[in-house]
Symmetry: C2
Subunit: 225 residues, 2 copies
């Protein structure tokens, strides 16, 4: 090796190191966050009169008991969570046999390149687990929300519009098959081109205060019925 | 320039780009998260009977109304927040004139290399604002929590042990001067060497379920007095 090619290979090694750190650090943080939340939820009981919001960061970020002014609403969202993550911690919720569960999960699985048929299979297994572990719970399956690529923020969701639409069709069919309620969130949140309204987000994926208002207003009748 | 030195400079440029992205991407995300939370808090009233937990990610992660079984506890923590961030959004809390505020803020300022005297000055300004905006609120100033470097996770906090100790001394003096309550969290959370107990964290900074239990048990008498 010449001196300069050695230097190039050293720099390349550093570059690979940086790229690896950039890819893996957020993942580790996401797992640590999941682990801490699960350990906290483990000691927080769910009661039969409770309404549980179950999902990922979009659920995690919402102050639902304040938004609905109902103290019996419990937030069981964990940022970055996926269908399997919810499945792993499901008994923390179902063993309390809550009155209602509002499920919103799957967009992070879409970002991880899972195909629509596989998403639907995973989701159906999760729904089956909820129903078998707590048949008395009224279950609401919410469609995955629209996203907005014009923020250029979540590139792992680019080109996945059809997967999201097919996944939501699958969720609707699962709801019909199992006799539970499907809630299409798109009429509440999407613009005329099927994107998450700009006024409801600041990154094209997560909800701002106005977004939470629109969502909670849209599902209010289900929460209170 | 020779061909190989050109190649080196191209690789170096890429390296700088990666490093820049690695540094700035989390920052942008942190700001976007702050901005969304603030927009949500904007429409969520605080009432005179409320107890508000105000701070950064350590507050953000806690389900205090469930941990204390008190529906009038409101979480106003925002992940990554700093003293100035809390100051900027302070009126969202103080205009409701809550019964109590539990303040826990400053560790992210420490991570940003702010010196102890500057931290104490910023913190005192914040306390003055709280007292002048809502003199009827009972204010509790909590010490910054111990950290644990053995997790090798938050390198921006390495070598800052003395800054943290001096900052906490300053918080205690501010509490005495203003006639508000200082709460030293270290007896609840630190091991014999002054580190956050391993059983209470999974990254040396943030609290696990056991950590939230220890903290909320330790401050229970202040929450209920």
């Amino acid at each position: 090796m010449t001196k300069s090619s050695k230097r190039i290979s050293n720099i390349l090694a550093l570059l690979v190191l940086f790229a690896t750190l950039a890819i893996y650090t957020p993942h580790t943080k996401a797992y640590e966050y999941w682990d801490r939340k699960v350990s906290q939820f483990d000691s927080l009981p769910v009661y039969p009169e409770d309404i549980v919001f179950l999902g990922n960061s979009i659920t995690d970020g919402g102050h639902f008991n304040e938004l609905f002014e109902m103290p019996n609403i419990k937030n069981r969202g964990i940022s970055s969570d996926v269908i399997n993550g919810v499945a792993k911690r499901l008994t923390q919720v179902t063993k309390g046999h809550p009155a209602k569960i509002f499920l919103l999960i799957g967009i992070n699985d879409v970002a991880q390149n899972v195909s629509a048929p596989k998403l639907i299979k995973k989701y159906e297994d999760l729904v089956d687990s909820i129903i078998s572990q707590s048949p008395e719970t009224k279950l609401y399956l919410q469609s995955v929300m629209p996203v907005n690529h014009s923020f250029k923020r979540y590139k792992t969701l680019y080109g996945k519009d059809k997967v999201i639409i097919d996944f939501n069709k699958g969720i609707k069919e699962i709801a019909e098959k199992k006799g539970v309620t499907y809630i299409d969130l798109w009429p509440m949140l999407a613009d005329s081109e099927g994107r998450l309204k700009r006024a409801y987000t600041n990154d094209g994926l997560h909800l701002s205060g106005a977004g939470y208002k629109a969502w909670t207003k849209g599902i209010d009748k289900y929460v209170r019925e």
